[in-house]
């Protein structure tokens, strides 16, 4: 009986060691994969950051303004705006020009 227990214990020890080794191996493999994914993510993040900065650079007002003027455009004049209500909604009754 004792011999059997000893043999089972030794077998279990080896089996556990093997399972642990396999798990460890898998973990390392996953770590490598994760590292590679992280590196790709870092590179893509860098690219995204750069592209966003480039987009903002291309949309900077001084560049747009120059291009718009070259196309014959000008800043909108007040007369070009129309509101849906007869008076400016921001405004109430006008302040008198002179004291009463």
């Amino acid at each position: 009986m004792l011999r059997f227990v000893t043999l089972v214990s030794i077998a279990t020890t080896f089996l556990t060691a093997f399972v642990l080794y396999a798990t460890n191996y898998q973990t390392r493999a996953l770590e490598h994969e994760l590292e590679a994914a992280q590196r790709r993510l870092d590179a893509l993040s860098r690219e995204v950051a750069t592209l966003r900065a480039e987009r903002a650079f291309l949309a900077r007002p001084s560049r747009i303004s120059k291009a718009a003027r070259a196309l014959g455009m000008r800043p909108a004049a007040g007369a070009q705006y129309r509101t849906s209500t007869p008076r400016n909604r921001e405004s109430g009754p006008e302040v008198p020009d002179e004291p009463r």
């Binding site: 921001e90 006008e94 004291p99």
Partner: protein
């Protein structure tokens, strides 16, 4: 005897077996507990922190304008590094790198590599990815690269003075960049890009900023002025939609301006602003119940101050209402109001509207106002019309905003804030005073005799006041050669939302005139017409100016 020995041996064997079993039990138990613990504590995100902290540079959140446009952002760039102790052939490294590196770095390289005891040197910082790849492909032992953050300003010079600058390690050294470090704190850069902290949302509008800058540049060219500044501020919250000081600066190149470049005249320069100060004097007179808009005051009699005489307006003894004094900008009139108040009350009122104390904004400290130490008769009179006291334009703008917003104090800010409840706001002047001042400023724009009539914007009800003051020369005297001209105004005048202040420094005469009414006022008109729609204030159909506009 033998049987006794066998009995002892069996007992000993049984004990050993029990010990082995116990040992195995403990071992398996430990393994089971450990496996259970690992399973329980397993990371659910699946992300490992593989990035190595870069001890040399800091990452920074984006800076955005009020509409989410990027004003400042980090990108990652490689920096070439070397470990001199690992370099096999220094000459080979120098010969290989010198043609590739920027001249400044190439020049420094031999000296840097000479000390073989060093383990780390920067060869060239924040170079292009292509250059780093080229150097990497050379396969030089001891030479490598690492990623660093580089602060970029995609909008270029827009709001350069306000945004400020960072040093080579991306630590803020000026403006909002510095403010961000103080408030949010510095964080070491890591190789993965992007600071995940929320961006700094400013109150600036990139479109309004550009429009203001554009119009000020046009004014500088037209009036041959070497410098100009302007600010557009929400009169209630103090949020600044645009703040321009020309010549502008490029935040990407702080080395060009930090020490001796063009200063931010809006905050770092103090100027005698002239007659725009009269709105403060008249507000003081009204708020202290010394005068009403209809009170008639002797403006014709000259005022003698020692060697100087302030000319009267009209014949000696001629009277004018307080309303007309502000509309026509009469020095003797505001001097008379200030004299009625006296030095203590005048000084206290200026302190109350925030014109005597040091002001701070997120972009940095505003230069302390300069005013007379002894508040004598001369100070009373000259300060009443904006001479003898020098303040930064932004400080005056916030004081003016508090006079036209119903009478509440205004603290200028570049960062969005939670609106303060009306009961928590500090009152500076009464609502009645505020309305009266606004009416007079409106009249200064609409009246045919008003000094601000050229600020009459098409479609907008503008209230404002002009000011022209002599600029002191290098010996701090006044030779009348140069002036500072300003316009401060609010729109829409019946319920102001925004304040505009435009200042031109040393504008040259056109058709013999260089007063603010002929240069600062029309500049402000163009600014308002262009910027108001950007800020959501549209021209009313029934508010077209009557008659000809100037």
């Amino acid at each position: 005897m033998n049987r006794g020995r066998t009995h002892v041996s069996e007992r000993s064997a049984a004990l050993r077996i029990v010990l082995v079993c116990l040992g195995l039990l403990v071992a398996f138990g430990a393994i089971t507990i450990q496996l259970g613990r690992l399973a329980w504590q397993a990371q659910t995100s699946g992300r490992l922190n593989l990035s190595t902290p870069n001890s040399e540079s800091f990452s920074r959140p984006d800076i955005l304008d009020r509409d989410g446009n990027v004003l400042a952002r980090d990108i990652m760039l490689p920096s070439i590094t070397a470990n001199p102790s690992r370099i096999l052939d220094v000459k080979e490294v120098i010969d290989s790198l010198t043609p590739l590196l920027p001249p400044v770095d190439a020049k420094r390289l031999p000296g840097n590599l000479a000390d073989r005891s060093r383990r780390f040197i920067w060869v060239s910082r924040k170079v292009s990815t292509a250059l780093a790849e080229k150097i990497h492909n050379l396969g030089l032992p001891g030479v490598g690269y690492r990623w660093e953050t580089k602060r970029t300003y995609p909008a270029g010079r827009v709001a350069g003075h306000v945004i400020g600058a960072v040093d080579a390690n991306s630590a803020g050294i000026r403006g909002l960049e510095r403010h961000m470090d103080v408030v949010i704190g510095l964080r070491l850069a890591r190789y993965e890009n992007g600071d995940l902290r929320p961006p700094l949302r400013t109150t600036l509008s990139i479109a309004a900023q550009h429009a203001l800058e554009d119009e000020l540049k046009a004014a500088m060219a037209k009036f041959s002025a070497p410098a100009a500044s302007g600010v557009i501020m929400d009169v209630t919250s103090g949020e600044i939609a645009a703040a321009v000081s020309l010549p502008s600066v490029d935040p990407a190149f702080p080395e060009h301006w930090i020490s001796r470049g063009p200063i931010d005249r809006l905050t770092r320069g103090t100027y005698e602003l002239g007659s725009i100060f009269k709105i403060v004097t008249v507000a003081m007179g009204l708020d202290l119940n010394l005068v009403t808009p209809h009170t008639r005051i002797d403006v014709g009699t000259p005022i003698r101050l020692g060697r100087f005489t302030i000319k009267g307006s009209g014949s000696p003894g001629a009277e004018m209402s307080v309303h007309d004094i502000l509309v026509r900008s009469i020095n003797t009139g505001t001097a008379a109001i200030a004299r009625r108040a006296g030095p203590e009350r005048q000084r206290a009122f200026l302190a109350r509207v925030g014109l005597l104390s040091r002001m701070e904004t997120e972009a940095g400290a505003v230069k302390r106002p300069m005013y007379p130490k002894t508040w004598g008769e001369a100070a009373i009179v000259t300060v009443s019309y904006g001479h003898g006291i020098a303040v930064a334009p932004i400080q005056f703008a916030s004081a003016a905003a508090s006079l036209v917003n119903g009478g509440f104090t205004v603290t200028p800010t570049f960062i969005r804030r939670v609106a303060m409840p009306p009961e928590a706001r500090k009152r500076v002047v009464s609502e009645q005073t505020s309305r009266a001042i606004l009416a007079m400023m409106r009249a200064s724009v609409t009246s045919r005799v008003g000094t601000s009539r050229k600020a009459r914007a098409r479609g907008y009800r503008v209230a404002g006041k002009t000011g022209t003051a002599d600029l002191p020369n290098r010996t701090r005297g006044y030779d009348g050669r140069a002036v500072v001209t300003s316009f401060v105004g609010a729109f829409p005048s019946d319920r102001p939302r925004f304040l505009v202040m435009v200042t031109l420094y040393d504008p040259k005469p056109i058709r013999g005139s260089r007063v603010a009414g002929d240069n600062a006022a029309p500049t402000a008109r163009r600014v308002i017409e262009r910027v108001a729609p950007i800020l959501g204030v549209f021209p009313g159909q029934s508010t077209r100016p009557r008659g000809r506009t100037h």
